[in-house]
Amino acid sequence: MDQNNSLPPYAQGLASPQGAMTPGIPIFSPMMPYGTGLTPQPIQNTNSLSILEEQQRQQQQQQQQQQQQQQQQQATVAAVQQSTSQQATQGASGQTPQLFHSQTLTTAPLPGTTPLYPSPMTPMTPITPATPASESSGIVPQLQNIVSTVNLGCKLDLKTIALRARNAEYNPKRFAAVIMRIREPRTTALIFSSGKMVCTGAKSEEQSRLAARKYARVVQKLGFPAKFLDFKIQNMVGSCDVKFPIRLEGLVLTHQQFSSYEPELFPGLIYRMIKPRIVLLIFVSGKVVLTGAKVRAEIYEAFENIYPILKGFRKTT
């Protein structure tokens, strides 16, 4: 279930900002030597990958990789770049969760540092696991908050819920919903009389869903015919630390169409990335908050996009 604790699937799917294939990305084009000097290997083969990776991969993703391999064999170099990035995401999601676990974070974040196959776009990429220091940041944003909604599918009597449920608040003069909390996962829910509910505070997608289900069960036990319709994650918030100070003034000068920085209003620079559509709060300390994502991959992609830019504005004093 929970790939949430393992970042690699998403992180791996990310190409560098230019979308170029890098060794950091798990590459599934076994038959694209194009001067790599490496013979394409069938997926089951053990190249120079570590035994551990081979084992994990074989255990998990043989079939999936075979499909990708076939697809890529038919792709042109240009098309490979597109398809690979897609498949990298697919393959990565199935492929490397354990690889990531087995590796320390000190290596490149994309467990694809152990690229299974050489990228056709980088002929000089060795098959042996490389640490692409420049391509990937080595930092993975941590999810801090997930907001989701679900429809319980029936009208609710909020007063009944507030009086009979534990840990509930209801002040209709101030807000027309019951505010309920549970301890595990530690979340807060806003429950409306229409039967719709908002669940906030979870740290992962699965926890958000689990929490929403727990709230639905509470409502159900109070006698309402609650269902669990249209669960949807509406927003995800992540944060991380690049570990160096940043020259926000310089960043806003060069990226003015994306940034807004008003230190007298707010100490952080607000960077509105277009692709993916994520808002980043960047602070002088080097801490970064990313929000507006519907899926985890957008957070990771946005951070991988911003990291080289932030490095360029590192404070040297």
């Binding site: 007063k159 507030a162 009086l163 209709p172 101030r174 807000f175 505070g201």
Partner: protein, 74 residues
């Protein structure tokens, strides 16, 4: 100012102070309805200058002190 805490709660972005208390282990449950707070606390010490009373469970029912005017909540 009096409703600042509640405003946070309304947005659902609260620090979940209530849950924090839960985690600290003392607050068992809380309820707010019809402008009445009900708390259930565990392992409470009531300390007065001369006396110390320990109880396993305390139920606190608290109503608003000042006159809240019209309180039609229908």
């Amino acid at each position: 100012m009096a409703y600042q805490l509640y405003r946070n709660t309304t947005l659902g972005n609260s620090l979940q102070e209530s849950l924090d208390e839960l985690i600290q282990g003392s607050l068992n449950t809380y309820r707010f309805c019809d402008n009445v707070w009900t708390f259930v606390l565990n392992d409470v010490e009531f300390r007065e200058v001369t006396e110390l009373i320990k109880v396993d469970k305390v139920k606190i029912v608290a109503c608003d002190g000042k006159n809240t005017g019209s309180n039609t909540t229908e």
